[in-house]
Symmetry: C2
Subunit: 224 residues, 2 copies
């Protein structure tokens, strides 16, 4: 990430980069979560910048015409949140598409298309989602392979499971974007397979073709 910031440099109007991770949610395009771990101690202004970037990513990468933006908090009410959230909230109210505070479960729901938070909380939330999903897959597997009867039934059900799994597999979705640098930077896992890297290159190609950097710059320019 340091290399990307040094080589590509930051966009004008962005003080820190953010990792924008697509979170797979059932029955809809992925939700853009940022920051998922680039910057842990945050100035309120940075979250406002990331909200603007996230909306562009939701629009250009995931095809959401008018992205709804939520601030990740410990309750939906405007009064909820710690000191950082209370400082950020009134600034976000000036941003088109801001719908207010959202909660951890909204990262897999249909209330918003972009969830903005500091990199510490974003990382904890993302790994909690991944952990719970993996634990549930384990429970399902145990149930499917428990007895000869369940194994026979599993053969009927597994194709549908695998299709859904494939749709939401990070190897299929192509990974996170580093938002706020002057270029397209896709972040893959250290353990990425050849297939995951091919998907990531595909995402980079599509983002570049769609002129995502120019759209980010235009949005930041309009925000003044």
């Amino acid at each position: 990430m340091a290399a990307a910031v040094l080589r590509l440099r930051r966009l004008d109007g962005v003080e820190r980069p953010a990792i924008a991770t697509p979170v797979p949610a059932p029955g809809r395009v992925p939700i853009v979560l940022l920051d998922a771990g680039a910057t842990v101690d945050c100035d309120p202004d940075w979250l406002v910048q990331w909200a603007r970037l996230g909306a562009v990513l939701a629009r250009v990468r995931h095809g959401v015409a008018a992205p709804r933006i939520g601030l990740l908090s410990n309750g939906e009410e405007a009064t909820k949140g710690d000191a950082l959230r209370k400082a950020v909230y009134p600034r976000l109210e000036r941003i088109p598409g801001f719908v207010g505070n959202v909660e951890g479960n909204d990262l897999v729901g249909d209330r918003v298309d972009v969830v903005v938070t500091d990199g510490f909380t974003g990382n904890v939330a993302l790994k909690s989602l991944e952990g719970a999903a993996r634990a549930m897959v384990g429970v399902v597997k145990d149930c499917l392979f428990a007895t000869p009867e369940s194994r026979a039934a599993a053969e009927v059900i597994l194709p549908a499971f695998l299709e859904t799994y494939e749709e939401h597999d990070p190897e299929s979705t192509g990974g996170a974007l580093l938002a706020g640098v002057d270029g397209v930077c896709v972040i893959s896992h250290g353990s990425s397979t050849a297939r995951a890297i091919r998907q990531a290159v595909g995402v980079a190609e599509r983002c570049a073709s769609a002129g995502i950097v120019e759209q980010l710059k235009a949005t930041l320019r309009d925000a003044g």
Copy 2:
């Protein structure tokens, strides 16, 4: 919660109460997550106090002989974390059972028995876990009821699913404890059914019979 603090008063050596939520994890007793939302802006000392309380709860409520305690962070390395985590880490190192930083996925794993964090992060993590688990249940249901063949197979598999679900249902586990007050206080959902309330009363009875408050006091006294 305010009523509980006013009526029961705080334990000596505890500056703020914490909500200690049992997080169901596959194949093991629940993990104690605290704080799950009582106190959002935290002094490092409070997290240290909660770590001690959490270890007593894991021992007395969940029967863990020597609870392992983790600090929820954005990576396992000791250098990970925001300013609060960096201030808390060296203080936690003096606590018996502290194993270091843990991540969101460890809330459903087997590395630790107690996870300590501020109430903001704890609340976001808990709701992320719940959201992902609920989304996965939805996906499983859709797969099971997709076709006449899958519905027939589902009849074979559902009993095992439901048994696992029942084990981990918050209505079965009896809810969170308010840690740090001089008494036993079980926190239930506003939407609790009669059955959930009966379980909660059972938890309160067992905690009181086991002398949990005396054990909390002894631990705080030993900590000086």
